[in-house]
């Protein structure tokens, strides 16, 4: 068994084989709508959506090593920005994306700026509180539609072609997920990515080497927030309705579990985590109300026996 897994990991780590695996997977993803039912497409669209969210959170948790328990807040900022601008001010959907990016980056900056100097567990609780504050604000304000949320958000069109079927959104979210993978990959191997890794492994040493740890962490926060915000924009137009209950604490935890389950800081690991996150409850639909309990227990067992996740990042 051990022998088999070393052969497998060697085979995967070869550059040529890796390219062919990626191409095969991309091909399967491209042609899936030809064979899949609408239900299957709905589930897979959801998978791509969570791939994007998990990769965004992975920048904060996996790369920079900061525990964020309020990630759904950034996702909410993006979704509400698009929702409010398109439904109440009649702004074109594509124009709301840069505005949402700006808003979620600001949100990341506002919460990250003063709190990133805090110790790790305080940071976790501050982000948790922040997530709840954003949800409660959305619930209490009039412009966000209060507790019932926003409805009737218009579906976008591109070059006169309106996106309104699940197949269209499947491709939109697939493209977003691939884009998110690409950006994550480039970031991980950039100067900033190496700085994140250094700060995560040894903050004091990193600072002694001249890395401005607060600035570097802030970058992680803001970039992670932008991922969440963009995912939120597309979520709003796909669902056409958003309510504050979508952005509850459990949503943040779910995204975090996707990151941790697969393996923090490693793109294929996070993608696998997002798949597991969406597919597990679908596959075990028969368990009814017990399925989340089973999921939580599986999660606990994975944390106890494989705290680094199913496919952890290699430590050199």
């Amino acid at each position: 068994m051990a022998n088999f897994s070393t052969i497998l990991s060697e085979w995967i780590s070869s550059q040529k084989n890796r390219m062919s695996i990626l191409l095969t997977l991309a091909g399967i993803a491209m042609f899936l709508p030809l064979v899949s039912s609408n239900y299957g497409l709905e589930v897979m669209t959801n998978v791509w959506f969570y791939v994007m969210l998990c990769l965004g959170l992975n920048i904060v948790v996996g790369y920079a090593g900061l525990l964020d328990l309020g990630y759904a807040a950034f996702f909410a900022v993006g979704a509400y920005t698009t929702g409010i601008l398109t439904s109440q001010f009649g702004v074109n959907f594509w124009l709301t994306i840069p505005i949402a990016v700006g808003c979620s980056a600001c949100a990341g900056f506002i919460i990250g700026g003063p709190t990133l100097r805090l110790r790790s567990d305080y940071l976790a609780i501050v982000t948790l509180g922040f997530g709840e504050i954003v949800r409660l604000i959305a619930r209490n304000l009039e412009i966000t539609g209060g507790a019932s949320g926003l409805i009737g958000i218009e579906r976008p069109s591109i070059f006169g072609f309106q996106l309104n079927q699940i197949v269209h959104f499947y491709y939109v979210f697939l493209i977003l997920a691939i884009l998110a993978c690409f950006v994550s990959y480039r970031l991980q191997h950039s100067r900033l990515g190496r700085a994140w890794q250094y700060v995560r492994e040894d903050e004091d040493a990193a600072e002694a080497m001249g890395i401005n740890r607060v600035a570097v962490k802030l970058y992680a926060y803001v970039i992670g927030a932008i991922f969440g915000g963009v995912a939120g924009c597309f979520f709003a137009v796909k669902m056409t309705a958003i309510s504050p209950e979508t952005f509850m604490f459990q949503q943040s935890v779910l995204i975090l579990l996707g990151v941790v389950l697969g393996g923090m800081g490693k793109i294929p690991g996070v993608v696998i985590g997002a798949f597991a996150l969406v597919l597990f409850p679908e596959v075990f639909r028969d368990l009814g109300s017990m399925r989340m309990l089973v999921f939580a227990i599986v999660m606990l067992i994975i944390m106890l026996y494989r705290p680094e996740g199913i496919w952890p990042a290699k430590k050199s």
């Binding site: 525990l67 609780i125 501050v126 709840e132 109300s289």
Partner: protein
């Protein structure tokens, strides 16, 4: 109602809310003080306490009734049961993780919390359960303000629990060992203190206090729900931070202070009840940013 009546009424409400917060905050602060773990599952243990108390009360009520005797019995039994469960969680989930990175243990605590609330949700179908008691609505009248005996007894009971805890921690040998471990675990081991046993004891006490608060809240509000632990967990953490995390008198003070702040806060124009939680989470964030050591906490330099 005159302004004094409103203030007096809010004082009473704030004290009750605050004593629940304080009891839950004590568990947070004790566990944090001794092993530096932020036990995310603590709020869910409060919730579990009220459900276990509910079950015990419904078994016992044909024999001793639904009144104070029944509530007291079920409270004691639930405190013991949930306290032991807290020790079990510590043994299964936290002991193996103590040497793991900080992030892993925090996520493990989160997973424990998920198991607890999803478990209770699965067994109750996510329904609200009515916590039926035969407590009357008699009470004392102070001017226009009416305070029931139930409210007074609940505040009294939590104050008694806090005094007992304070005496235990400061006057007994076990309490001394707890305080010593919070300062230096290795030195304690060298001095022949059974560190694991004391940590387990700390979990037991902290968890049973949360369970006591859970039953009191069930008695007071009259209904329980699987998700009731989440908000109070966050609030109790806020209370622990206000008082200075790791400090036992700090948690008591912080709990009462937060309860009073919240109930008076709802009287401020433009804040109102719907902004109550925003108000207290806002306090939490501001406090953590500007004075993370709290009122009674000690300054500490973190070495990661």
């Amino acid at each position: 109602m005159s302004i004094q009546d409103i203030l007096l009424q809010q004082l009473a409400n704030g004290l009750i809310l605050g004593s629940f917060y304080a009891l839950v905050a004590l568990g947070y602060t004790m566990v944090y003080g001794i092993i530096k773990l932020l036990n995310f599952a603590h709020g869910d243990l409060y919730m579990l306490g009220s459900f276990v108390g509910f079950v015990i009360l419904s078994i016992l009520s044909p024999y001793i009734g639904n009144s104070w005797a029944g509530i007291l019995c079920s409270m004691v039994l639930s405190m013991i049961a949930v306290g032991l469960f807290g020790v079990l969680i510590q043994r299964i989930a936290y002991v193996p993780m103590l040497s793991a990175p900080r992030l892993s243990i925090l996520i493990t605590a989160l997973a424990v919390s998920m198991v607890l609330y999803n478990g209770v949700m699965a067994f109750t179908d996510g329904q609200y359960l009515a916590f039926k008691t035969d407590l009357g609505f008699e009470g004392l009248e102070f001017g226009n303000v009416f305070i029931t005996y139930t409210q007074m007894i609940l505040v009294g009971a939590s104050i008694i629990l806090m005094i007992v805890l304070y005496l235990f921690v400061h006057k007994t040998l076990y309490g001394k060992a707890m305080r010593a471990i919070a300062i230096d675990q290795d030195a304690c081991r060298l001095m022949g203190i059974n560190v694991n046993k004391i940590i387990a004891l700390t979990f037991f006490i902290g968890t049973s206090l949360a369970a006591a608060a859970g039953i009191m809240a069930g008695t007071y509000y009259g209904s329980i729900h699987f998700f009731m632990g989440f908000v109070i967990g966050l609030k109790a953490f806020t209370a622990a931070v206000i008082g200075g995390i790791g400090s036992i008198p700090g948690a008591m003070l912080g709990g009462l202070l937060l309860g009073l702040l919240e109930s008076f806060g709802t009287q401020i124009p433009f804040i109102g009840t719907e902004w109550k939680d925003v108000f207290s989470f806002g306090i939490l964030i501001l406090l953590l940013v500007f004075k993370p050591t709290g009122i009674l906490g000690k300054t500490e330099i973190e070495r990661m």
